[in-house]
């Protein structure tokens, strides 16, 4: 079940959800709350002529964070805005810090806003779930699918969070689930 605006507010009051800075009343709709764009954004450095770079996520030495740090550069969107070019991936963040408590029986999905989607703006690439226990700024995979640049401004409403009640408490949020009993051994024996 999706939480309504009232239930989201109650969950915030009960500290099951933390959103910092706290959204204003205007940020809510009946079943979602809007989050805003952090000024920090990363762009991929332009490739050098004659050099081909290919990502190999299954390579034993591949590290996404290190690779992205090498291949991208961080910059700040100026207050007057910056045009997001067409057909290119940028990594951004929400300005808000979100904390979804482990034992809250809640999960969330980050989704785009229809007003921006109509212009071609996508804010995630197939991984919208915010699991219970998550805390931090939400990473956004920003892609302008349209043909014209879209001006982004820091603090603009960029995405919405939709909260859902989970059926039961996840194992990691349930104390004493196996009191007095042993779990079956893992498939591959842990330990050196």
């Amino acid at each position: 079940m999706i939480l309504t605006d009232r239930e989201i507010q109650i969950a915030i009051e009960r500290e099951l959800i933390k959103i910092d800075p706290r959204p204003t009343e205007k940020a809510f709709s009946s079943t979602s709350v809007d989050l805003t764009l952090d000024p920090n954004i990363t762009r991929f450095k332009p490739p050098r002529g004659g050099v081909e770079t290919v990502l190999d996520p299954n390579h034993v030495d591949f590290s996404p964070e290190n690779s992205l740090a090498d291949l991208t550069e961080l910059f700040e969107i100026p207050s007057e805005g910056w045009p997001l070019p067409s057909k290119t991936l940028f990594l951004g963040w929400t300005r808000e810090y979100v904390d979804l408590k482990t034992d809250a029986r809640l999960a969330a999905r980050v989704e785009g806003k229809s007003s921006l989607a109509r212009l071609g703006l996508g804010i995630h690439v197939t991984a919208p779930t915010i699991h219970s226990g998550f805390n931090g700024r939400i990473r956004l995979e920003l892609v302008n699918h349209g043909n014209l640049p879209i001006k982004l401004r820091p603090g603009m409403r960029i995405c919405q969070l939709i909260f859902e009640v989970t059926l039961g408490t996840p194992e990691r949020g349930y104390k004493g689930q196996f009191s007095g009993q042993s779990a079956p051994p893992p498939k591959s024996k842990p330990g050196p």
């Binding site: 239930e7 482990t102 809250a104 805390n135 931090g136 104390k175 196996f178 051994p185």
Partner: protein, 99 residues
């Protein structure tokens, strides 16, 4: 909706982490956790989620001969959510029947 309270929240367990690098955003850091199998797992977390070199992991999922199966708050860089760690890597209120 979930039934939680401050007592329960305080009892949630934490796993020891080592900071090994910066994240892409100034608020992020890359931390490393030593797994029971020996290979470390790395993940990106928010700096403010680190307290005394630990991050919250809720309660262990399973136990096995002094090892805990824990679920991390975010997917690791290698794509895992759950990892086996030595019992000593987890700090917090001991669980009844888990020691």
């Amino acid at each position: 909706m979930g039934a939680t309270n401050e007592e329960q929240a305080e009892a949630l367990m934490r796993v020891k982490v080592e900071e090994v690098g910066k994240g892409l955003h100034p608020s992020e850091v890359v931390v490393q956790i030593q797994t029971a199998e020996g290979d470390p797992e790395r993940l990106v977390v928010d700096r403010r989620s680190i307290v005394d070199g630990t991050i919250e992991v809720g309660y262990p999922i399973r136990k096995n001969n002094g090892y805990y199966l824990i679920e991390l708050p975010r997917e690791t860089i290698g794509g895992s959510w759950r990892i086996w760690v030595l019992k000593d890597a987890v700090v917090g209120e001991p669980l009844e029947g888990v020691a």
